[in-house]
């Protein structure tokens, strides 16, 4: 890995986004509007909003970065720029980490906006520090970016790439504890939810919601999300082939 090339890649990805203000607006505003909508939906039951809102803070960065990365890498593959880059002295890690850095920066802004809105605008009642929320949101971005990069290797077209969203994200959404607490699920489903990384992102958010201090469970959740993010990132880098058929 080479720092100059990694930073150049991150800057290039950000410049691409810079020419696409509508995507930036969608990335930043849609999560805020969705939270606003959710607050309205739970108008009569603000405590239920606390728990679901906190979970969503863990889910938004993962889902948006998954979508953005899978399409961005797929475009890189189909436009021939990936082939060009890999025939040049660019390390696979330079590319992967460059993407993660660029989208991580976008995610910081997104998470900052969403967290700020929920705490000060929507009275989401957190016991813990907002900084801990930001930590999980960032690790979620890493995970989303890594998953997007990984699945884009198995998609031959944009059509296929967007279909990976229901295939990869929805099962995690259903099992992450957003709809029913994970420990009340049927044992097989609970076991499945125990191996899906989004469960830990959501658990982590709920730990911050309930506890003023950093709990042992929170540390475990953070480690699981970070670890699985790194693992999938390595797998994603391994799907980049310098030689193709």
């Amino acid at each position: 890995m080479n720092v100059t090339r990694t930073l150049a890649t991150a800057r290039r990805v950000l410049r691409q986004l810079g020419h696409d203000p509508r995507t930036i607006a969608l990335l930043l505003l849609v999560p805020c509007l969705l939270l606003l909508l959710l607050r309205w939906v739970f108008d009569s039951d603000p405590r239920a909003f606390d728990s679901i809102g906190a979970s969503l803070l863990g889910i938004f960065p993962l889902v948006t970065m998954f979508l953005v990365t899978s399409i961005a890498t797929l475009r890189e593959r189909t436009s021939g720029t990936l082939e060009r880059l890999l025939s040049m002295p660019l390390g696979k890690a330079d590319l992967v980490v460059g993407y993660a850095l660029a989208f991580g920066l976008v995610a910081v802004v997104q998470a900052g906006l969403v967290t700020g809105l929920s705490i000060w605008g929507l009275d989401l009642d957190f016991a813990g520090s907002p900084w801990l929320l930001l930590v999980i949101a960032l690790l979620d971005t890493l995970l989303g970016t890594a998953l997007g990069l990984f699945v884009s290797a198995f998609a031959a077209s944009e059509f296929q790439a967007v279909q990976f969203m229901p295939a990869v994200i929805f099962p995690q959404l259903l099992l992450c504890g957003l709809f029913t607490p994970r420990d009340t699920m049927q044992p097989v489903l609970e076991a499945m939810s125990n191996v899906l990384p989004m469960s830990y992102a959501v658990d982590g958010m709920n730990e911050v919601l309930r506890h003023a201090d950093v709990t042992g469970d929170f540390v475990r959740d953070v480690c699981v999300v970070a670890g699985s993010g790194l693992l999938v990132l390595v797998l994603g880098a391994a799907t980049l082939r310098r030689r193709t058929a």
Binding site: A8, R12, D20, E83, R84, S87, P89, R242
Partner: protein
């Protein structure tokens, strides 16, 4: 140590490439001499792009031996010494021309200020440096792609139909540039570049120092344009090309 200045730029022996279930290149033997412009000609689908991908090190399933600039094709040390321009332009449509080149220059770790301006001037795109690549015409986009390959003055340039869709004036200017590069009088003035250029345009073929004529994954002829005229008793490369390809077709036709 790799032999840097002696021997051919590309040396292929028994070069075979399988794509899907097809044997696309079938036991090729040829050399590409250094410091010359070698043209790669052949009917559509004969394997020109596949051969170029093999030389650039992006083609999988390559067997036989293929040495580039003294080392095996695709080895890490060649990645900054070989410039490769794909047939379909590979540029970021959502970046400006200059941003595209800035990024690829950073990947090559070129720091010199003038590098990007020089290649922009070479492909006559200085006026469009700040246009989005996606808003350019087809020929302009392919010139951005070509400019990328010229960055860093590589020792070997592998160009896949770089002049397709360009007007006669631009094509003449680019071929002048290719010959200046081969003579070592263009770019940053370092020694002669070796160029391997595929084309379907026959008057361009006349301007090559050597021609490699392919048909269905094999080499039909490997000679200078003049020698091809003599061998086939024709006055143009176009006629020689037709004669050789038709003779090969007849040999294969069912009795």
């Amino acid at each position: 140590m790799m032999n840097k200045t002696e021997g051919p730029a590309v040396r292929a022996r028994g070069l075979t490439v399988v794509r899907g279930k097809r044997t696309v290149l079938d036991g090729l033997d040829f050399d590409v001499p250094r410091g010359q412009v070698t043209g790669l000609l052949g009917p559509s689908g004969c394997g020109k792009s596949t051969l170029m991908r093999a030389i650039a090190g992006t083609q999988a399933q390559v067997t036989g031996s293929l040495d580039v600039l003294g080392g095996p094709a695709g080895s890490a040390s060649l990645r900054s010494r070989v410039g490769y321009c794909t047939q379909a332009p590979s540029v970021y449509d959502d970046l400006t021309v200059r941003q595209n080149l800035d990024y690829f220059a950073a990947v090559l770790r070129l720091r010199a200020r003038g590098t990007v301006d020089r290649v922009l001037a070479d492909v006559d795109l200085a006026d469009h440096a700040d246009s989005l690549a996606g808003n350019l015409s087809g020929g302009q986009r392919s010139r951005v792609s070509l400019a990328t390959a010229l960055l860093g003055a590589p020792e070997l340039l592998v160009l896949d139909e770089p002049t397709v869709g360009l007007d006669p004036v631009l094509r003449r200017d680019l071929w002048d540039l290719f010959h200046r590069l081969a003579r070592g009088t263009a770019g940053d003035g370092t020694g002669g570049t070796t160029l391997l250029i595929s084309s379907h345009v026959m008057d361009e073929a006349e301007r090559c120092d050597r021609l490699l004529l392919m048909r269905s994954g094999r080499v039909l002829a490997d000679d200078t344009p003049a020698a091809l005229h003599d061998r086939t008793g024709t006055g143009t490369v176009e006629a020689a090309f037709l004669r050789l390809v038709e003779a090969a077709n007849d040999m294969e036709a069912p009795r």
